[in-house]
């Protein structure tokens, strides 16, 4: 479903020197599977998620990224979203003045329009929103407040998953979704994520720690270091990292 071949990328932002951030990532995530990307800080995990979502400034210099056979890198971020790419942000952005529900409905209808589908009716939207908010045990008033403004770290993460459940994407990229969540919230959020697991969806779970993977069980685990995947394995690889640390693995790979 998602195929990355020898993907290399450069970060070029105004006022900063260009920086190589991915040094040849090759990765295949078949439909129906959940893959975890683990790695120390600065290994390129968030970069990979931004590159796949199309953040301006993150440029692929060589290699390819295909999603459902289509060249992902050639598409605008909104076109990728309409194809079903969803990035749950590590740091969700505050949007003052735009209430959550207004925003999500606009996003959903923009995606539908882009796919040639009819817009969702107001009653259908409300019904769906209510059911998902309940499942994530969110205060319904939160959905009337401006997006992410004044929300705690945990509330922001929960709201990311709310949006994911509303938009029902096909490729979900979860960037450090566990950070800021307490144990109970982690369980509720994970249940929400697991509800979207299906044979026609794929998931990339980016995390620093193993604990999220107790709740969202991965099919494969990849270790990213210095912009390259240095090890891949089953769920047991995450457990090994937890007990031995990244250093041992990185030293072994070097």
């Amino acid at each position: 479903m998602l195929e990355l071949k020898d993907l290399r990328a450069r970060l070029s932002l105004e006022g900063a020197p260009d920086r190589d951030i991915l040094n040849g990532v090759t990765l295949t995530v078949p439909a129906g599977e959940v893959h975890a990307i683990m790695g120390p800080n600065g290994s390129g995990k968030s970069t990979l998620s931004y590159l796949l979502a199309g953040r301006p400034g993150y440029e692929a210099t060589s290699g390819s990224a295909h999603f459902l056979g289509e060249d992902l890198l050639a598409l605008e971020p909104e076109a990728r979203a309409a194809k079903g790419v969803f990035l749950s942000f590590q740091y969700p952005v505050e949007i003052p003045g735009v209430p959550v529900m207004t925003f999500v409905r606009a996003a959903m209808n923009a995606q539908r329009t882009s796919r040639g589908e009819a817009e969702i009716s107001a009653p259908d939207f409300l019904k769906k929103s209510r059911a998902i908010a309940e499942r994530l045990r969110m205060d319904p008033d939160m959905l009337k407040r401006p997006l992410n403004v004044g929300f705690s770290g945990g509330e922001k993460k929960r709201l990311e998953i709310y949006q994911m459940l509303m938009l029902e994407p096909r490729l979900m990229i979860l960037d450090e979704t566990d950070s800021g969540l307490d144990i109970d919230a982690l369980r509720i959020v994970s249940e929400g994520v697991n509800a979207l697991r299906s044979p026609d969806r794929a998931m990339l779970v980016i995390t620093h720690y193993q604990r999220l993977l107790d709740h969202i069980r991965p099919d494969r685990v990849h270790v990213l270091s210095a912009g390259r995947i240095i090890a891949s394995g089953g769920p047991e690889l995450a457990l090994r990292l937890e007990s031995e640390g990244y250093d041992a693995l990185i030293a072994g790979a070097g």
């Binding site: 979502a53 199309g54 953040r55 301006p56 605008e76 971020p77 909104e78 990728r80 979203a81 309409a82 969803f86 990035l87 942000f89 969700p92 952005v93 505050e94 949007i95 003052p96 003045g97 735009v98 925003f103 999500v104 606009a106 996003a107 959903m108 923009a110 995606q111 882009s114 401006p146 949006q163 938009l167």
Partner: protein, 399 residues
């Protein structure tokens, strides 16, 4: 009289002299004479005159028209009853509850300084009205439009003691030169909401000048939306004449190619414990120019004054221009006064976040811009609030 005029005449350009000559031909009342003298001191304002740097009327009027006068693109704000002024003066009028007379009567003891275009409107007003808003009066709609020539209107609106009222002004000239002056007089404990919508053609020079006098305990709340014009000036001179009056002076501007707006306010605090809140927000595209000039004056005896001024602008594209000149003049020692001003661009991180969820770039920009300016419109009462937000949204989405 002619000799005193010719003494200042060398300073004046041909257009200003022409305007004065027109007044000579009229039968002037004492107040018109006073206004004419005030206007003759400067003639048509230009960029080298203090306060007119960003509205060079003389230059704008000396450019030959390119024949691009168009009908105003927008619909006027609604009201329960109202007056409409076009090229021939009053074109339609119906004031259900309030009393009014055509033309402004001569009984104004104190005269606020309304600037050169305010004086010009009074001196050369071809038409006008003196209105007293009665208790329970429906919102009053005033519409000013026209496509060519010069148009000057002078109105006075009184809000008697304890009355609560609403006035909606729409300044929608397609072309030509117009100056509309409205003198608001609020008696003790009176309350007025004034909404102002300004949208003019690319060749039109359009001024909306208001003086506002607040008696003790009066409340004045203003909300404007300006889509600019070739030259558009919204000037408000407000005086807290007594104790404990309140003023809110909010509003927003949205400017595209070839559109300018100059938002000028002067607030004088003369009584004890008056409060003024001002929040102006704007967003400008390439080729547009916005200006904000705010001045709060607090007299020596105006203790406990509480005055806050804020202006925040977004430069939406390269080639957009915004100028801000906030000023506080404080002579009392027990006051709270502050001003803040920012100019920036749309938040790139927010734009990417919105696009990641599927919003096309243009829609994300429009939504973000609308949410930026909305807080300066949202304090308006229901009715004008929805109308102004709707106009802003139409402008942003090009619908």
């Amino acid at each position: 009289m002619s000799s005193s005029l010719s003494a200042s005449a060398p300073l004046l350009d041909a257009r200003s002299s022409g305007l004065l000559a027109r007044l000579e031909a009229m039968d002037p009342s004492p107040s018109r004479l006073r206004a004419r003298e005030a206007f003759a001191r400067t003639g048509l304002p230009h960029r080298r005159i203090e306060g007119w740097r960003w509205s060079d009327v003389r230059a704008a009027l000396s450019r030959p028209p390119a024949g691009g006068a168009t009908d105003a693109p927008a619909t006027p704000l609604a009201g329960g009853s109202g007056l409409a002024f076009g090229e021939g003066g009053l074109t339609a009028g119906e004031l259900a509850v309030s009393s009014w007379t055509r033309g402004v009567s001569e009984n104004e003891a104190r005269v606020p300084d309304v600037g050169a275009l305010g004086w010009l409107a009074e001196a050369l007003a071809l038409d006008g009205a003196d209105i007293t808003l009665a208790p329970g009066a429906q919102p009053l709609a005033l519409v000013f439009s026209g496509r060519e020539g010069d148009r000057f209107v002078h109105l006075r609106i009184r809000v008697p003691q304890g009355v609560e009222a609403q006035v909606a002004e729409s300044h929608l000239s397609g072309g030509g030169f117009s100056s509309v002056r409205v003198d608001y007089v609020l008696e003790a404990g009176a309350s007025l909401h004034r909404s102002v919508f300004l949208a003019g053609g690319a060749e039109c020079v359009q001024a909306a000048v208001a003086s506002v006098r607040l008696a003790p305990g009066a409340r004045f709340h203003q909300t404007f939306l300006s889509l600019g014009a070739g030259l558009s000036r919204l000037e408000t001179a407000l005086t807290h004449e007594g104790d404990g009056s309140e003023a809110v002076l909010d509003g927003a501007y949205l400017l595209g190619e070839g559109r300018r707006t100059d938002v000028v306010t002067r607030v004088d605090h003369l009584g004890v414990g008056a409060s003024t809140r001002q929040l102006v927000r704007g967003a400008v595209k390439s080729g547009g120019r916005g200006a904000f000039q705010g001045r709060f004056h607090v007299a020596r005896h105006a203790q406990k004054t509480d005055a806050r001024m804020q202006h925040h602008a977004l430069l939406l594209e390269e080639g957009a221009e915004v100028n801000a000149k906030p000023e506080l003049e404080i002579y009392a020692d027990d006051v709270q006064c502050a001003h803040g001003a920012t100019t920036g661009a749309l938040d790139e991180a927010a734009l990417f976040y919105m696009r990641q969820r599927g919003l096309p770039l243009a829609q994300a920009r429009a939504l973000l811009t609308l949410s930026f300016i909305a807080s300066a419109l949202e304090s308006a009462p229901s009715g004008p609030r929805e109308a102004l937000l709707g106009e802003a949204e139409r402008w942003l989405t090009g619908a």
